[in-house]
């Protein structure tokens, strides 16, 4: 391996080391264990969104719907069917992915702001189902009366229920799997094709690439991982409510991706970290934190459009 390749590996190594050691350095800088877990989960959601947004160039604004479906899928499975964390996560992913696969054909031919508008509007269906079907979903108050359950393997039991550290590492393992699959896909010919579509859709079409099919696949993959994040989010809180499905949540994911840098793989994770910490801090300081979050959106758009990593890369280049 020559040195430019090694240089490319440095950011990856740094990110993984920071993530692996997070429970140990986070309290030292004033965080608490759940905060770290939340960063990883929402980071996964933002990275999944970025698979579509940053790498395929499709403007999706409705990812909260599939995040929420994953969350409700996991919560309802554990509450009503089987008290098993693993099956809960699987059902959550399945429900989110199937919903995305069904809605996909309706939207893949749309582009730009139209795509954004339709995806965000579609998300509202699930929001209203969650609100109205309150005998099953708990309605506006959310679904309570369940908790994540310890993981039972044949030879050992991991108590993710009462040990936040164990749960963090479970989340991190699943995050690693998801991030690994996404990174592998982006390096594959399929991933390169997605980037080609982003750069010049018409040319890709003329080259004979079935663009709509690729966008559908990218959409489903993206929603699959975002529903995994949703399932984990429900498990983290031992609770899920319709706000996980609401359209403002979709905006949060997009701002995380933009804030960190849409053109880089780790950008959305960094964006999620900044956003989660900021929101956590603001909501403990002021009742009007929503205004500050809004102001933050405006400031990012006006002064930080390339995101943190985009800025750094630009500095390095010049």
């Amino acid at each position: 391996m020559n040195s430019p390749d090694l240089n490319k590996q440095i950011p990856n190594v740094v990110v993984w080391l920071l993530l692996l050691a997070m429970p140990y350095w986070l309290p030292a800088v004033g965080g608490y264990p759940e905060l770290g877990t939340r960063v990883v989960i929402l980071g996964l959601a933002a990275m999944s969104l970025n698979f579509l947004l940053g790498y395929t160039g499709v403007l999706s604004f409705g990812h909260a719907a599939y995040f929420g479906l994953g969350a409700y899928g996991a919560a309802m499975t554990i509450r009503y069917l089987v008290p098993s964390t693993g099956i809960g996560i699987l059902v959550g992913i399945l429900i989110g992915t199937i919903a995305a696969a069904i809605i996909g054909p309706l939207i893949i031919r749309l582009r730009g702001v139209y795509f954004a508008m339709v995806t965000i509007a579609f998300g509202q269906v699930f929001f209203f189902i969650a609100i109205r079907w309150n005998s099953v979903t708990g309605g506006d108050d959310g679904l309570t009366g369940w908790t994540r359950v310890p993981l039972h393997f044949g030879f050992t039991t991991i108590d993710i229920q009462n040990n936040p550290l164990a749960f963090y590492y479970l989340v991190l393992v699943l995050f690693a799997v998801a991030a690994g699959i996404m990174a592998w896909m982006l390096r594959s010919p399929f991933g390169r094709t997605l980037i080609a579509i982003r750069e010049n859709e018409r040319r890709a079409r003329f080259l004979g690439i079935p663009v709509d099919q690729h966008i559908w696949m990218s959409w489903v993959i993206s929603c699959c991982f975002v529903s995994l994040a949703g399932a984990l989010y429900a498990l983290l809180n031992n609770f899920v409510d319709p706000r996980a499905l609401y359209w403002t949540q979709s905006g949060d994911f997009v701002i995380m991706a933009v804030l960190g840098g849409m053109r880089s793989f780790w950008g959305p994770l960094i964006g999620a970290a900044i956003y989660v910490v900021l929101q956590d801090y603001l909501s403990s300081q002021t009742e009007n934190w929503q205004s500050f979050i809004g102001l933050f959106f405006v400031l990012v758009v006006l002064f930080f459009p390339r995101g943190v990593l985009g800025m750094i890369r630009r500095k390095v280049m010049s």
Partner: protein, 288 residues
């Protein structure tokens, strides 16, 4: 049963008129500037709250005239200071910018006027039922429909008869050519944005008379407005009007037969339209 159905169809028509009024403003801005204004619901709420504040000084009629105008002034300023910076950039940024503004407006109204819902007084004679059989036909409901109709007719007159309107329509088709022909596009976009926000403010004053004042009133009305635009067809203002009325009536009828699907039905309609006719009912082919 007939009465119940009639009541809900009429109710749906009123709700649809709101959606249409709001969606027309959104559509105007989207067509000319390519910006989806998520903050439109915020402008609607501001219109309503301004009317509430103005009523003690100028009465209901004064507020009905002044509040939307003041909202439009806020719109002019917001466009001039902020929105203008995202024109010509990736549409993502305009979405995020207006998204942030929506947060600020909602929280701002909560900060200024409080989180609890406030009563909104409309003139008493407007609230009396016109007929004992059809109790739901209060003067205010008819009045709302009338105002919306006047506003819509006014809008279409502006767009077809005035120089500004003709320029807006021309700019919708080809902004570059309009600019080359010597029209100041900056001013044109500013006026157009203000016009759209004026409609939101007007919808706000009417809506709070029916629904009461809440900071979240705008957030709950914006998604149906999106659906109205999509169902009616992007780029077509008559389509937006039709879409708004259609989804309003559809949710009204659904209330009779399957009340828990009242909100969800309009999204099902949107799915059906996208499946059969992706450009929307009156949308132009190949615009998006």
């Amino acid at each position: 049963m007939t009465q119940l159905l009639l009541f809900n169809v009429f109710n749906g028509l009123i709700v649809g008129a709101f959606y249409a009024l709001m969606a027309l403003g959104l559509s105007l801005i989207l067509n000319l500037s390519g910006v989806i204004n998520f903050a439109h619901g915020g402008f609607l709420a501001i219109g309503g709250y301004l009317a509430y504040t103005l009523i003690p000084y100028v009465g209901f009629w004064g507020a009905l005239v002044l509040a939307p105008l003041l909202t439009a002034v806020i719109g002019f300023i917001v466009e001039r200071v902020l929105i203008v910076r995202v024109y010509g950039r990736d549409p993502l940024y305009s979405l995020l910018l207006t998204f942030g503004l929506a947060f600020i407006f909602e929280d701002g109204t909560r900060f200024i006027w409080g989180a609890q819902s406030l009563p909104f007084q409309v003139p008493g004679w407007l609230m009396t039922p016109l007929s004992s059989d059809y109790f739901f036909l209060t003067g205010y409901r008819l009045f709302m429909v009338l105002v919306v109709a006047i506003a819509v007719i006014g809008l279409f007159l502006i767009l077809t008869r005035t120089r500004l309107g003709i320029r807006i329509r021309a700019g919708t088709l080809d902004l570059e050519t309009v600019s080359v022909l010597g029209v100041n596009v900056r001013i044109l976009r500013n006026m157009n944005f203000g016009l759209g926000v004026y409609l939101a403010g007007l919808a706000g004053v009417l809506a709070v008379g029916q629904l009461g004042l809440q900071p979240t009133i705008g957030a709950s009305l914006i998604m149906p407005s999106f659906v109205a635009i999509i169902v009616g067809g992007l780029g077509s203002l008559p389509g937006t009007l039709l879409g708004g009325l259609l989804i309003g009536v559809a949710s009204g009828i659904t209330t009779v037969f399957f009340p828990s699907a009242t909100e969800a039905v309009i999204y099902v309609m949107m799915a059906v339209v996208l499946l059969i006719r992706p450009r929307g009912l009156l949308g132009e082919e190949g615009r998006f």
